[in-house]
Amino acid sequence: MSSLSFDVAHLLAGGLVLVSFMLLYQARLSALINVFGLHALVLALSVGWQAYIQDAPHLYVTALLALVFKVVMIPAALHRIIKRLGIHREIESAVGVGPTMLAGIGLVALALVVMLRVTEDADRLAREDLAFALSVVLLGLLMMVTRRNALSLIIGFMSVENGLVLAATGAKGMPLVVEISVAFSVLIAFIVIGVFLFRIRERFETIDLEALDRFQETRE
């Protein structure tokens, strides 16, 4: 593998981790959605580049799916939802930005240490890709833990899925089944979430999860 193709793949995967950090500190919902679009765009580029260097045409399909679905359609739909709900307000984050970023840095370090150590025999690109992918997954989980708002939970979950797609495409020759399934599951997941959002909106007049938590406390 030429060093240029390695460097570009490295750059894109690293970029995805960087955008994950950007997701962590977005304060407003609309900005958060835009950054998620960027996240998906970097993913699409990364997958497209993998398709090129692995000479695996089916990966272009995955890249295209990410581009159309996650860069265009989902952000557009989410923008519509927040406009309809009228919630361009601040995101209440359970932990402040500073501690969150520090925790994020710790998680990335953890991912690198764990993955690089156990994959010593694998080829260079695959191991770094997996390490970056695990970082993206962990950062996404961190975002899900620190945010209270239902919509940012969804975005956190989708960034986890992006990390998984990165891992799946980095593992050379991974069967197509999985790539399609990941894209497909995001689709289903989104429909389900959409249904829920409407129901939650219907019932609670807010999509904040703290409203849900209150029921838990009063009941038991």
Binding site: L153, K172, V177, I193, F204
Partner: protein, 482 residues
């Protein structure tokens, strides 16, 4: 030539899929319930035929000695639950808790769920298995939220978020298994085929396999409902319709457990990899002890039995973690007995909550006076689930404890403690519900008693006399599990 051979496997997938499509367009809940029961029965017949004749493994689908246990159990409980569901749903329509429009999807979803679980059990491909479990999860999320009350939406939302995180972790583990397999098996489809992997796993990189197993155990373990990851389980059981609670406890937890067992077998076949046993034993014990204490604080009857499910899944995972022919045998038996008993308990509880109009334990009193059959069935069910003789759970728990005693007596102590604590909690609550001054809600129950009686009959039979055919079969599977 190939087609007739694949018939039975295809049938257990095609019947639910086709009937789901029919149910979406069929009008009226009566027709829907009938089609649902009929489809479940047809699936059961086909699943039964897999016991006799088994097609060879393909690239995507296969049935082996391990999965056939799960498939038959799945089809059986799926069928009896569809019977229970018909009478339960009829009552819900009468009191107006559910409308016809929502029910059309209810029955279709039931069949989609059966399809997803069967697909997970017959898949020979790790990716396909993952997709199937995800499908089953999403279906149950929708079903749990079907009442659209505050609590139901909350439960479904929580279940969805936690289930998705679990399933995401499991996918990462699956990818790692493929990365470990690639240098040995080669690129492409072969690297995900279970029968190929288990043949060649001895040459895989152990470090990668270890890491993969941690992700898989946490990921699928969330779906099994193991203790630190169980938060979705009680809510999902309590707020969804009771037939779904029965299917969740009796079947879906097993399907996730099946996935864990598959990967445990992979690790066990690679001698350089870490032994999966201790991890599973720890998670199992934590679940048992935690759930046992939590049982005391329950005020909701369905929630209480949900915690009991966490306890029993803990026992089963513990047994498989101990490993060896005897503990594996006991684990399999316990899993079967738990599925039968717990789903039958939920059938009973479903009818009880309908006649009493509440799920609060404090408001349910004196059942044996007002509804003798339901009341005594509940008594029998709780005694069975507590592991009292002569029921089958006594046999399996006895075997688990005695095999643990033989291997490591100190591990048996917390397990026995957990069992006794849970026993106390369940009996305490049962006493109030079954005996004493009856509470309001004395209208006669229009229940279908057949499913409960069939389940408890089987559990009783297993406790008194286990036919040599089944013993031999389970022993064989236990050896395969290693």
């Amino acid at each position: 030539m190939i087609l007739p051979q694949l018939n039975a496997i295809w049938a257990v997938l095609a019947i639910p899929a086709v009937s789901a499509a029919i149910l979406v367009v069929s009008p009226g809940y009566r027709t829907g319930a009938r089609i649902n029961t009929l489809a479940a029965f047809a699936t059961l017949v086909c699943a039964g035929s897999l016991l006799v004749r088994r097609p060879p493994a393909g690239l995507y689908l296969q049935v082996d000695d391990l999965s056939v246990v799960f498939i038959v159990l799945n089809a059986f409980v799926g069928f009896t639950t569809s019977l229970f569901s018909a009478s339960y749903i009829a009552h819900e329509i009468e009191i107006g808790r559910l409308t016809q429009a929502r029910l059309r999807f209810y029955h279709a979803m039931y069949q989609v769920l059966m399809f997803g679980m069967n697909l997970a059990l017959v898949s020979n491909n790790l990716g396909l298995m993952w997709v199937a479990i995800e499908l089953a999860t999403l279906t149950t999320v929708i079903m749990v939220g079907i009442y659209r009350t505050h609590e139901a939406v909350e439960a479904a939302w929580k279940y969805f978020i936690l289930g998705s995180v679990g399933i995401a972790l499991a996918l990462f583990g699956t990818i790692l298994v493929y990365v470990a397999a690639r240098p040995v098996v080669g690129e492409g489809l072969q690297g995900m085929v279970w029968t190929v992997l288990i043949d060649k796993v001895a040459a895989f990189d152990p470090a990668l396999l270890n890491l993969a197993f941690v992700f898989l155990l946490l990921g699928y373990g969330t779906k099994v409902g193991l203790a630190p990851l169980h938060a979705w389980l009680p809510d999902a059981h309590a707020e969804g319709p009771t037939p779904i609670s029965a299917v969740l406890s009796g079947l879906l937890l097993n399907v996730a457990l099946y996935a864990v067992l598959r990967f445990k077998m992979l690790l066990a076949a690679n001698h350089a990899a870490l032994a999966p046993g201790p991890l599973m034993v720890t998670l199992g014990l934590v679940s048992v002890v935690f759930a046992a204490f939590m049982l005391y604080r329950r005020r909701d009857i369905k929630r209480m039995f949900a915690y009991s499910s966490i306890e029993h899944m803990g026992i089963i995972v513990f047994a498989f973690g101990i490993g060896g022919p005897l503990a594996n045998f006991a684990g399999l038996l316990h899993m079967t007995m738990h599925s039968l008993t717990k789903s039958a308990i939920f059938f009973t509880v479903g009818h009880i909550t309908q006649v009493k109009g509440t799920q609060r334990i404090a408001d349910i009193r004196g059942l044996t006076v007002t509804h003798p059959i339901l009341g005594w069935t509940l008594v029998v069910g709780v005694m069975a689930i507590c592991g009292l003789p002569p029921f089958g759970i006594f046999t399996s728990e006895f075997l688990i404890i005695s095999s643990t005693m033989a291997r490591d007596p100190f591990l048996a102590l917390p397990l026995v403690a957990g069992l006794i604590i849970a026993f106390g909690a369940l009996l305490l609550r049962l006493q109030g519900m079954a005996f004493g001054e009856p509470s309001p809600g004395t209208a006669p129950a229009r229940a279908s008693y057949l499913p409960m009686i069939a389940h408890f009959g089987l559990v009783l039979m297993a406790g008194v006399y286990l036919p040599p055919l089944i013993t031999g079969w389970f022993q064989h599977v236990a050896k395969v599990l290693g």
